[in-house]
């Protein structure tokens, strides 16, 4: 039976306390509830965090068997240039993969999941990867600023090795105008909170969940966990009460630890529920955004076979406080920062080069000499081993999933960076291969020669003049 065969998640390392935001711009808004939210680093965006969750999900899985990738978000970097195709390229998926973007609503994540479920159930696809992420910026001083957090989840769907069977769904759709954004706008607009709460969350989520229960002749007590988002903590509990659920059944919303991650939120809660699930557990998930998708799954014995995942728990524990609101503004490009004339330089992205070298740039593929076995990056036609030198005896070799150690490094204050010093160094890969890479998610004081590192797909630059979001791989300290 079709279902989930693997899961993964990603939460950016930086967290900012609601009070840090309030102390900077509190004069503009109401006092926020206690808590913190996850903040994407300056070189992270919706696509890079989705790739990170996908890598977590694909750990130990056969990525060459993935034949579909559906991506759900409300903050896709590109309006034209398929975002899911960029994710598929970064993951080094085969080219015969069906990719699709699901956008425009916070229920895009569940929409992608249900479409993937249909494809797998119907037999059109065997292994579909569902990625969902959001990095939403609220206007400084507004409530969205501290409510919205950045994060991503990924689920692999298939018919073999299922860890949770997908059992069914029930959807409702309303043109509920709680929030909206036109093409080209940076920030959302929202109607009054009380309207969103009373006519939105507290009506639409129960309607979808009740519809699901009726459709499949179930009661709320049949579920080990019930997961749904709600921006208002008191109403989140109120919905549970109205559904007749015990508080222990309700999946924690992460509103005070990660923030509301938009389209990623329901599936991040599902991943958190799966981390604690036992075989036989039923888990109900509902999204919210212009209606709601409610769906449920039943955990199988396969859950015990899931390998190491960063998932939600490890990601929640791996964090660094961002103590400066001003740096947060700089990271999110919410304040014009002086980068110097050096920072203003920048040539156009050569798109034909990027396409020709897509494996090298986006998938971090190098080559491995078939004669001497030396891995090398970037890919070479002439083997770099001075005792070999074979010509055109290479096979493709992917470095993105290889661990490495830091051979040397620096923290550079001259290089133009939004977060100086710019960190970079040489990486020696396990199994061979060496190159230089930017370092990220680390500080000069915390790195040393020999540090274990792993590779991370990051946003390299945004060329606003030419409308280009550029990506490449960087090294980060290996996460526990």
């Amino acid at each position: 039976m079709a279902g989930i065969t693997s899961y993964g998640a990603y939460i950016p390392r930086y967290r900012i306390d609601h009070n840090t935001i309030f102390s900077a711009v509190g004069f503009l808004g109401t006092f926020p509830s206690p808590g913190e939210k996850a903040v994407a680093n300056w070189d992270e965006d919706t696509l890079s965090v989705a790739v990170a969750a996908a890598i977590d999900c694909l750990n130990g899985m056969e990525r060459e068997k993935v034949d579909g990738l559906y991506f759900g978000t409300t903050t896709q970097p590109y309006m034209l240039r398929q975002n899911s195709a960029i994710i598929a390229a970064a993951l080094d998926l085969q080219s015969n993969v069906r990719t699709a973007d699901f956008v425009g609503s916070a229920k895009s994540g569940t929409g992608a999941l249900l479409a993937a479920f249909d494809a797998v159930k119907g037999g059109d696809a065997s292994n579909v990867l569902v990625c969902t992420s959001d990095c939403r910026a609220g206007k400084p001083g507004g409530s969205q600023e501290h409510l919205y957090g950045d994060g991503a989840a990924a689920l692999l769907l298939g018919n073999d090795g299922v860890i949770a069977t997908l059992e069914g769904s029930y959807s409702v759709s309303y043109d509920f105008p709680d929030r909206w954004k036109s093409s080209g706008e940076k920030f959302e607009h929202a109607w009054e909170d009380r309207f969103i709460r009373d006519s939105g969350f507290s009506r639409i989520i129960p309607e979808a969940i009740s519809g699901l229960l009726n459709k499949y002749n179930l009661t709320i007590q049949d579920f080990a966990k019930v997961a749904y988002p709600c921006l208002y903590p008191r109403e989140h509990a109120g919905i549970a009460k109205r559904l007749g659920a015990d508080p222990s059944q309700i999946q924690e919303s992460m509103l005070a630890t990660v923030g509301d991650t938009g389209s990623a939120s329901p599936l991040m809660m599902l991943v958190a529920a799966l981390e604690d699930a036992k075989p036989g557990d039923k888990i109900l998930v509902a999204s919210f955004g212009n209606g709601s998708d409610a769906l449920f799954c039943q955990v199988t014995d396969g859950i015990a076979k899931v390998g190491h995942r960063h998932g939600i728990k490890n990601n929640l524990a791996y964090k660094k406080e961002l103590t400066s609101y001003e740096r947060y503004l700089a990271f999110r490009n919410l304040a014009p920062m002086e980068m110097g004339m050096r920072g203003e330089e920048g040539a156009a992205t050569p798109m034909s080069t990027l396409f020709r070298e897509r494996k090298m740039v986006l998938a971090l593929c190098g080559s491995k000499c078939k004669r001497c076995g030396t891995p090398q990056y970037p890919p070479q036609r002439v083997c770099v081993n001075p005792d070999c030198g074979a010509i055109d005896e290479m096979e493709e070799y992917r470095f993105s999933d290889k661990k490495g150690t830091l051979f040397t490094y620096t923290g550079d204050n001259l290089a133009a960076s939004i977060d100086p010093p710019a960190m970079y160094g040489f990486i020696d890969f396990e199994g061979g291969g060496r190159s230089w890479f930017d370092l990220t998610d680390c500080d000069l004081d915390s790195v040393k020669v020999g540090l274990p590192v792993e590779m991370s797909f990051r946003r390299r630059y945004v060329d606003e003049v030419r409308g280009v979001h550029g990506y490449s791989w960087k090294a980060t300290p290996a996460r526990p």
């Binding site: 004339m341 040539a347 090298m360 970037p378 550079d412 204050n413 290089a415 040489f426 060496r434």
Partner: protein, 398 residues
Amino acid sequence: MAEGIKNKVAIIGMGCTKFGELWDKGAQDLMVDAFKEVIEDAGIEKKDIQAAWFGTHFEEHSVGKGATPLATTLKLPFLPVTRVENFCATGSEALRGACYAVAAGAYDIALALGVEKLKDTGYGGLPGGASIMGTTARLIAPNMTAPGSFAMMATRYFAQYGLSPEEGKNMLAKVSSKSHHNGALNPKAHLRREVSVEQILNAPIIAWPLGLFDCCGVSDGSAAAIVTRADMAKKFRTDPVYVKALQIAVSSGEELMYNTWDGSHVETTTRAAAKAYEEAAIKNPREEVSMAEVHDCFSITEAVTMEDMQFSPRGRVKEDIDAGRFNLDGEQPIQTDGGLKCFGHPIGASGLRMMYEMYKQLQGKAGERQVKNPKFGVTHNLGGFPAQNVISMFIVGL
């Protein structure tokens, strides 16, 4: 059997402008200034020059591409002029072209001139970073600057030889302080003041562990040489300077992409130096080389170059630095003119500027900086990054 270049070419004239932040001079002005000095020193006229080599690196920031900037600025009368570019070895590359042309017998008298106008970029440091390595590197290479790329060699050197950051930085501070002492004595240098080890250690960090004074200046300047066949040299002057060896070595990609390079030496310098000593028949460089102008773009570069050139044993340059071996009054003075440290590094000019100092020293015309009875002088340029670069090396003597 290849014969090499030893004693086939002589330098009979040199010119060098004052280096500095020359807001009132363009690249063309600098070229004319260097040219006036070089032909006067050689005692020749423009019409005597049969061919010219022109070195400039960041042509987009100053003169533009090709050989025409030299020819049109100096009004060279339809001569064969070649423009060369080879990273920071560009100036030496111009001289190399002129030397081989004369050695081949193609010409009797050739001009080499290098120039760089760096102070029209609008910011400190060199332009470029990863972008100088081409379009694909621009898509994947780190956000790297020159100080950062060499700082990684310092990090590696400290780790490999067990130096604490304090010990390592102290060693490097002595390298820079020594050069500042020499530069203060040189009217053509850009930076002309003594700087103490303490001041160097307290300076702001540019790229960890390198601070401000670990980095060379960024300057404008030009330098030039006139070369001729060795057998004609004495017709022009009594004290021509002869080329004893001329080597370049270029990275194979091994340092950056293969896992064997230790990151704390420069492989190209090591190889070029060994070949140069063989060409010049120098058996013991530590004893026989009287003085050198090496590529001290950063203090760490000079330190490892002392080992790569066999002036100091591997991993033990600190002992020689501490003992003052490379000071002006030491056993083997290095950067007698103040080096890149005090001249800055107008890329196309630097190799020729170094040769200017060796030439003057060998002729006994270095004034307060004069080294006693020099026999062999060495110039050395490192262009690119420690892991991927072009090295040039000259050995000259009387």
